[in-house]
């Protein structure tokens, strides 16, 4: 089933006259991990923000379960975001330094009202355990956590609404390599267990190759190559993809 379908989506940053996302179309199927790879400034994160309507598109359509997200009112969109979540790159910047871990997650229930008062604590503890943390983390501040642990909190927060679709925007690129492997393991495990759908954004072809089913290669706001990971990795077609592969070392 097509979970998300993007048609001819464009975003122009007028002040800089940059076509950040330029007439892009693709679909994601339920339970799939779709990779999005490209270098800084190619429009990867802009595309992520467009899908969640964190910024407004100039042109195009985004269908989620066949409903046009761009026609949603703000209230409807807020409801839809229960299903559409995001994990950000920098676990240091995406957690408020003054808010304890338990509250970070409970804030989600305040917004979405998806958990009754009496179940809140249990649900929070359960979420923390799912991501490899535990009850002891409830009262901690982000400053007491390592980068990997913070990213686990970011994942728990995204899972708090039981979403179907998660955008992972470079979730491992600011982590040390041993921690990166732990977080990738966690993301793979969650995806299989909950049959989640990911749009997985990364600049690292190694990471993309290890986790994704299909991959889109983006350059200057456009997709230059699109296909199953097997095909693209074994036999890259576009010159830019080939250049990327030449730059990746030992993989």
């Amino acid at each position: 089933m097509e979970l998300l379908k993007v048609d001819n989506l464009s975003k122009i940053f007028k002040k800089h006259r940059v076509k950040a996302v330029d007439d892009v179309s693709f679909s994601i199927f339920k339970g799939e991990v779709l990779g999005l790879v490209g270098e800084s400034g190619c429009g990867k994160s802009t595309l992520a923000k467009l899908i969640l309507r964190l910024i407004d598109a100039d042109k195009g359509n985004i269908f989620y379960k066949e409903k046009d997200l761009l026609k949603f009112s703000h209230g409807d969109m807020r409801k839809a975001r229960k299903d559409l979540q995001i994990i950000f790159q920098d676990p240091y910047a995406s957690l408020d330094p003054m808010i304890r871990i338990g509250e970070v997650i409970e804030e989600v229930y305040d917004i979405h009202k998806n958990v009754p008062e009496r179940d809140r604590k249990n649900k929070t503890v359960e979420l923390l355990e799912t991501v490899g943390l535990g009850e002891t983390y409830l009262k901690r501040l982000p400053s007491e956590l390592s980068g990997g642990e913070r990213q686990r909190v970011g994942i728990a927060r995204a899972l708090a609404t039981d979403p179907e679709f998660i955008i992972c925007d470079e979730p491992v690129s600011s982590l040390d390599i041993s921690i990166q492997a732990q977080i990738l393991n966690l993301l793979i495990e969650l995806q299989k267990k909950k049959n989640l759908t990911y749009l997985f954004i990364s600049h690292d072809l190694g990471v993309i190759g290890s986790i994704c089913d299909r991959v889109m290669v983006m350059q200057s706001g456009r997709f230059v190559e699109f296909g199953s990971c097997e095909d693209v990795f074994r036999n890259p077609g576009h010159e830019y993809t080939k250049t990327l592969f030449k730059s990746v070392l030992l993989s």
Binding site: G132, L133, G134, I177, N185, G206, S210, S247, L250, S251
Partner: protein, 327 residues
């Protein structure tokens, strides 16, 4: 031997963060130093010309012999003759290393030894770092450069004094992959042309494998494994190195779990007894906690700090989940 570091110990505010390191760099050799955040690799790099701020603490013991002179015994004048001249540095973030209010031209000129005929010399340096385009454009400031060009300019400044050793501390971490490749190619080209010695500090095995002759793996302030790069990658001996190599993401994994290292690096204020990697190690035995092992030679220039011999059979027989779950 150009540089010999012997039993170097560095102390920050009462804590030993470099706990006894030996490292040699030969003329024209590139040594890679790999480790994760906070393992002490940058501190080692900085200590070579005593760039560690005094207020933080300092080098508590050891020797750093550069061209057979102990850098730790030099006075300010002697140090100045070496720092930035015979030994130069390139750091991670070029935009914060360059001075924003001076032009690139002036900054490279400042690094030159001789002060005559500087225009030609700057032009020559710009050419050798692949910045031919800006020769003659004297009024360009760092903000007009892309990250890759800024890093080229930094490398230009580092080679301007014709050093014999360059310390490169994560020089490509802030760059895109295609630019990273270009900068690594440039470093290799200069190394061969000028017979440079390089200490290449990085967290990324993939990069170091491409550039270094020998690799040292650092964990909790010590080198736990050292050897020729092929040995380190394909015949790694220390459990930490094995874990690092297995953690490198690649197409081969295809959704299989990574053989990741569990837990996190210990705090220097709370180091475990015995082997410091013990709590995260899947090959551990009780004897590991008795005392911290020494770095022992294995063969062919490879040395490891593990008391066990980890054979291929043992590797495949140990289940992935043998590691302690993250706290």
């Amino acid at each position: 031997m150009l540089l010999q570091i012997k039993n170097l110990k560095i102390n920050y505010g009462g804590l030993d963060v470099v706990r006894g390191i030996d490292l040699n760099i030969d003329k024209g050799e590139c040594v890679g130093l790999i480790g994760e955040s906070g393992c002490g690799k940058t501190t080692v790099g900085l200590s070579i010309t005593r760039l560690i701020p005094e207020r933080k603490g300092g080098i508590s013991s050891g020797e750093i012999l550069f061209e057979d002179k102990d850098i730790l015994k030099l006075d300010a004048e002697g140090l100045r003759k070496i720092r930035g001249k015979k030994i130069s540095y390139v750091f991670q973030e070029p935009s914060s290393s360059l001075n924003p209010v001076f032009t690139i031209y002036e900054q490279i000129k400042e690094a030159l030894e001789e002060k005559d005929n500087t225009d030609n010399m700057v032009a020559e340096i710009l050419k050798s770092v692949g910045l031919e385009k800006i020769i003659g454009k004297k009024n360009m400031y760092p903000h007009e450069f892309s990250g890759g060009m800024q890093q080229r300019a930094m490398i230009g400044m580092a080679i301007a004094s014709k050093p014999s050793l360059i310390v490169l501390d994560e020089p490509t971490t802030a760059l895109d992959v295609t630019v990273e490749r270009q900068i690594l190619d440039l470093i290799m080209e200069l190394k061969n042309k000028m017979n440079l010695s390089i200490l290449f500090i990085s967290h990324d095995l993939r990069i170091v494998f491409n550039i270094a002759d020998n690799i040292g793996i650092m964990y909790a302030g010590k080198i736990v494994e050292y050897g020729p790069k092929e040995k380190i990658i394909s015949d790694s001996s220390h459990p930490y190195t094995i874990g690092l190599v297995d953690s490198v993401p690649s197409f081969k994994h295809r959704k299989k779990s990574f053989n990741a290292i569990g837990g996190r690096a210990p705090l220097f204020s709370d180091l475990p007894k015995g082997c410091k990697f013990y709590p995260r190690c899947k090959f551990r035995i009780d004897r590991c906690t008795e005392k911290e092992p020494e770095l022992k030679d294995i063969s062919g220039g490879q040395a490891s700090m593990c008391i066990r011999t980890i054979s291929a059979e043992l590797r495949s027989a140990t289940p992935i989940n043998g590691i302690i779950k993250s706290r």
